[in-house]
């Protein structure tokens, strides 16, 4: 029985980590040598591949991606938290309308509205800047949905009422009392926006034509196209692009995993 268990553990590890391992190995190869067989042990071309990557605009692109993910994170979390708090903890006429509005916008994948969104961005003069890729997260229906559920389940209404009777102002109640209680939810949500905006491929691909504003996924998929497809360099770039995601994941996976189902589970 014990053997079966360990075999299973080994299998899960291999299946989930193997592709990542292969990526790291590939980044140490000279591009043309990758295709002689699946690279399972490191070669000696890593430095050259890194040089190739850094000779391009990689650093600027990296900075672009960081800008996008941080801006998207702040915007997305802020608007989601505010509307989530309003819908979850107040009674007002438009409350159920707002709730349905959030759910319906969540049901239609953002991808199908992108043609209209791109045209709107062009009209606003944001074509070829990073704005389209950032602004989309300010209207993040999943985030709003998540926050409504999370705040409804974790912030007791009585505490807010007590504070109100004691004469605390509404912003104070939100930032002084509710915020500390929903910190784990905010952490989960920030991780999600960061991951998703960092890895987002379609939106930057169709909105950004200007190489100056490329983000990592788009940049890497065009890397080396000029003279030859340099897979070694591309894999090195991919490995480096995965780094922040990996760090965030290792630091926050516990809170993240705990918070992620808050929207679905009513404890």
């Amino acid at each position: 029985m014990k053997v079966v268990k360990w075999i299973f553990i080994a299998l899960v590890t291999a299946v989930s980590l193997f592709p990542f391992y292969v990526m790291i190995m590939m980044s140490t190869y000279y591009s043309e040598n990758i295709f002689k067989g699946l690279p399972l042990s490191p070669s000696d071309y890593l430095t050259e591949n890194l040089m190739t990557v850094f000779k391009t605009d990689f650093i600027r692109v990296y900075a672009n991606s960081l800008t996008v993910s941080f801006a998207a994170g702040i915007l997305g979390v802020l608007t989601s938290t505010l509307i989530g708090y309003a819908v979850a903890k107040f009674n007002f006429k438009l409350k159920s309308f707002l709730n349905y509005f959030i759910i319906i916008t969540m049901m239609v994948p953002a991808q199908v509205g992108l043609i209209g969104y791109i045209i709107e961005m062009r009209h606003m003069g944001f074509g070829n800047t990073l704005m389209p890729v950032i602004l989309i997260w300010s209207a993040w229906s999943f985030g709003a949905f998540f926050m409504v559920q999370y705040i409804r389940d974790t912030v007791p209404t009585e505490i807010l009422e007590c504070a109100r009777i004691d004469g605390a102002s509404e912003p104070r109640i939100l930032f002084g009392i509710a915020m500390p209680l929903i910190k784990p939810g905010i952490a989960t949500l920030s991780t999600l926006v960061f991951l998703w905006s960092w890895n987002n491929y379609l939106l930057p691909l169709v909105t950004i034509n200007n190489a100056k504003s490329f983000t990592l996924p788009v940049f890497i998929s065009t890397l080396g196209i000029v003279h030859r497809t340099d897979y070694g360099a591309r894999m090195a770039a991919l490995a480096m692009a995965t780094l922040p995601v990996l760090i965030i994941f290792l630091l926050g996976s516990r809170t993240f995993i705990k918070g992620i189902t808050a929207g679905a589970v009513k404890g």
């Binding site: 899960v12 239609v108 043609i115 209209g116 709003a144 995993i257």
Partner: protein
């Protein structure tokens, strides 16, 4: 009175920014799409009103139906194969020691945090016909007859891309389900065990029925996620061979951007939005409607 006013004011202050931004960036873009779908439009200028012609002509093209078949195949794969596997994995995580549990949770999350570009590039290498992982394995166990060029063979291309997609998200769904399992009170299990139930009975009679809320959530997330399936196809096959691995979103972008037929592209978008709304309505209406209580 003054306090009442300030509460009202704060609701407005909290809710308005999001409401405004949602309207501007989520809802408003759909209007020009609707308008465009009724016009002959090349993305920069309107070449005249054509009524429903765009709709008829996209529905007549075979690519439209191929792309629908592919999208729904991906939905079917992720719901009918992916979710049961995630469920088994979640139940499995639940019976491990805390240390192993932590390990399995991290291993399960890992693929989901990688970029689609990373995942697709690596899987393209796995599917490579001459030295790729799958054909190498098949050859080494003597099944040379089964080797093929996975991503250019019209029979295997969609299944191969679907497998990559499954690999990436099975673990994430398992974790969502597992977090749900954890909220089921332990004394239900103890009672069942005292009554002599085995692990299988406990799973099918207690865990799964009590997990309906989470299952619905996972079902919605993964079916809508598969409806939006696009990036894997773009990187792995660029829709090929021919148009055989295009999904609806792919077909929509291809029509609009690569052939400059924005009228037709937006017509596809409008048709697809209706489908998404119908599907989410069906899930809301028919799945896990009644709460199970003991």
């Amino acid at each position: 009175m003054n306090k009442f006013f300030s509460t009202k004011m704060s609701i407005a202050v909290f809710a308005t920014p999001a409401l405004l931004l949602f309207t501007v960036f989520c809802v408003y873009p759909l209007l020009p799409q609707l308008w465009m779908s009724l016009h002959n439009h090349n993305g920069f200028q309107n070449l005249g009103f054509v009524g429903f012609d765009n709709y008829w002509s996209v529905m007549k093209s075979s690519s439209f139906w191929v792309s629908h078949r592919n999208t729904y195949l991906i939905v079917a794969i992720s719901v009918l194969i992916g979710l049961p596997l995630s469920m088994v994995f979640a139940l499995f995580i639940d019976v491990q020691t805390p240390r192993l549990r932590r390990f399995f949770k991290s291993a399960a999350m890992f693929p989901a945090i990688l970029s689609v570009i990373v995942v697709s590039q690596i899987w393209v290498a796995f599917y490579e016909p001459n030295w790729g992982l799958f054909n190498t394995i098949l050859r080494s166990i003597g099944l040379d007859g089964l080797t093929r060029s996975w991503l250019t063979n019209e029979k295997t291309v969609m299944i191969s891309i679907g497998l990559t997609f499954l690999w990436q998200y099975i673990g994430l769904n398992a974790i969502l389900l597992y977090t749900g399992i954890k909220t089921i009170p332990k004394n239900y299990y103890e009672a069942a065990l005292i009554d002599g139930a085995n692990a299988f009975q406990v799973s099918t009679r207690i865990t799964i029925p009590l997990l309906q809320d989470v299952m619905k959530y996972v079902l919605i997330l993964s079916s809508l996620g598969s409806m939006a399936f696009y990036a894997h196809v773009r990187v792995m096959t660029a829709g090929g061979p021919g148009d055989l691995s295009r999904t609806v979103i792919y077909q929509m972008y291809y029509t609009a951007f690569d052939t400059s037929q924005f009228g037709k592209g937006t017509a596809i978008a409008v048709i697809f939005i209706l489908q998404c709304l119908v599907i989410s309505f069906l899930i809301q209406r028919f799945v896990a409607r009644e709460k199970v209580e003991f």
